[in-house]
Subunit: 174 residues, 2 copies
């Protein structure tokens, strides 16, 4: 039960659901799901001259109003230069608003403007509906299973953060 994955072999007669074929199906399913999951918002964004990166920023700023730049960087795992470009465009075009932190005035706490919230809702709606449909069709039990598995795919160090994060929505820092 310890060596469920026989290294570098396709013919491993693995027990259960851990056969090479099943794992490959998992890899592919994740690819297809992600591919189609991002398709609809991408189309909306393209009209506005924005890209997927903007969506991610808008999404997480909406989710954690008052988030700092470095916290956002930690979530997105990109460099500050990359984020900076995205963020400054969103500020320039009035989707996101910055205000200095109260406790630490070096910080620039981020929040969505009304325009930003509107776009966030519009973008997220398509994904929420897609997920809701999938959830509904699969049933509560399957959903619980899905969450378990997906969480297991995340780097271990990140897992705690994610579990700690939800509900900690209103972190108005100033």
């Amino acid at each position: 039960m310890a060596d469920v994955i026989s290294p570098a072999t396709k013919l491993a007669p693995n027990p259960l659901f851990l056969r090479d074929e099943d794992l490959r199906q998992g890899i592919e399913l994740l690819f297809y799901a992600y591919r189609d999951f991002t398709g609809e918002p991408d189309a909306i964004l393209a009209e506005l001259g924005l890209g997927r990166a903007h969506h991610r920023a808008i999404y997480f700023v909406g989710r954690h109003a008052g988030i700092t730049v470095s916290e956002l960087l930690a979530i997105l795992k990109i460099t500050k230069q990359s984020l900076s470009r995205v963020l400054s465009q969103l500020v320039r075009e009035g989707y996101i608003q910055q205000r200095p932190g109260k406790r630490d005035r070096r910080q620039r706490l981020l929040e969505l403007t009304e325009k930003g919230k509107e776009l966030e809702r519009r973008l997220t709606r398509t994904q929420r509906e897609r997920i809701a449909r999938a959830y509904r069709e699969a049933g509560a039990e399957a959903v619980a299973g899905c969450r378990k598995v997906l969480l297991g795919l995340v780097d271990e160090t990140e897992r705690r953060k994610i579990l700690a994060r939800p509900d900690g929505t209103t972190k108005a820092g100033a």
Copy 2:
């Protein structure tokens, strides 16, 4: 039961697992899982001067030996110009081999060389291990649920193709 998603409202007292909060968790989980799922192979690829796009091509050519260019395009959903660059590099560097179709000699059937197979195994191994661990920890039932949900996220027209695809591995065309 029909309008489980009340449009543009956060406070919808939805039944079950379909509350806004749950759906958002789903969105995020997918983001985190995908982010970390692609991290390891990306590092290997970077050393070789390749990118994620090369991985995808290698993966699916490995999975469907003898696949045609247009079939591969249909899976990846990118333009042929994009694929062309990736593919010609992989051929040039000896990871992928082309041979004309037997029945239709316009086709260039794709298959991995030994070098390509080696790289494919190396890349896929990290993902397979990650999935295997997640599966093992979550249990068979959760895995089944996960598959159901992820499949539900895929565009409907694609779903059939995916279900039809697995096992149809050996499509040696020439």
